[in-house]
Homo-oligomer: 168 residues x 2
């Protein structure tokens, strides 16, 4: 027995995106209780030149759908990045989970050696599927999920590690 590329990607991305959805639910209730304009939280950041919550969640979504699509040999579908509210962000995460459902295990498995070319800001990096997943996509994905958590926590939302880990 070993780990398949599908097992190390889709269920992990889904676990964390479902956690984020539940955390956003708590943020909505908390903002109402503390009379905080939710858009303040959606646009909050940990430092002036860091990205705000909305962008952290958009990039987490992009990392998950980009990774699984590329491993499956597909062009990643582009989402519009037009979210402005907690409801929009929840919808973004749900659409990402739904998209991952359309990609079958057989499409992702066996992609360990597949060449993945990523063009970002005009320069192209080339990876094999396995390091692309384990050493680039997962670290990147967890970075944005954790930073989203940290932004809300820094703003006083009462959540803990159990909310972050979620259920699996």
């Amino acid at each position: 027995m070993t780990i398949s590329m599908y097992q190390a990607s889709v269920p992990v991305f889904n676990q964390m995106m479902r956690s984020l959805i539940d955390i956003l639910k708590k943020a909505v209730v908390d903002a109402e209780k503390r009379k905080i304009d939710p858009s303040v939280l959606v646009n909050s950041r940990l430092y002036p030149d860091m990205l705000p919550l909305v962008k952290q969640i958009q990039i987490a979504s992009d990392t998950a759908k980009g990774c699984v699509s590329r491993l499956a040999g597909m062009e990643p579908p582009v989402f519009e990045d037009n979210e402005t509210s907690f409801a929009d962000l929840t919808d973004r995460l749900e659409r990402t989970i739904d998209l991952l459902k359309t990609i079958k295990m057989e499409q992702v498995d066996g992609s360990e050696d597949k060449t993945i070319d990523i063009t970002f800001r005009g320069s192209t990096s080339s990876y094999k599927g396995l390091p692309y997943l384990l050493h680039r996509s997962l670290p990147n994905f967890f970075f944005h999920v954790t930073t989203a958590y940290a932004i809300l926590r820094h703003n006083g939302l009462e959540i803990g590690k159990a909310d972050y880990i979620g259920t699996f």
Copy 2:
């Protein structure tokens, strides 16, 4: 071809701990330049009831060595949690990387179905090796690495995603 339990654990933990070591190096130089007492940064947190930088790095270390030791069927070695400086934290990460070097691929591989019992604050949770690695240890590890990064970033250290991802 598939992913082995060793491939999905040791090299990923090492990549991120080496990144942290390099980030701490930058923090030392930056603190000197900005005339900040390094212990202020070591004890900095994102919210009063969140853990400080020193604890984030101790837990990242514990998560990495705990995970790999348990998958290998060994009791995780206990480190003392007596770090108070950037030099101590760097040493902690280096000792963790050194410890992982002593655990051989053959000891970790094939642990997908191994039963892992974790007792935390008096209650025991039981996992199979594969979900213990992918759904608990990796998310937990990345949480503390990212939070360490975020604490330093929030305090004005000029680092970016490339410092976090490091080299692999």
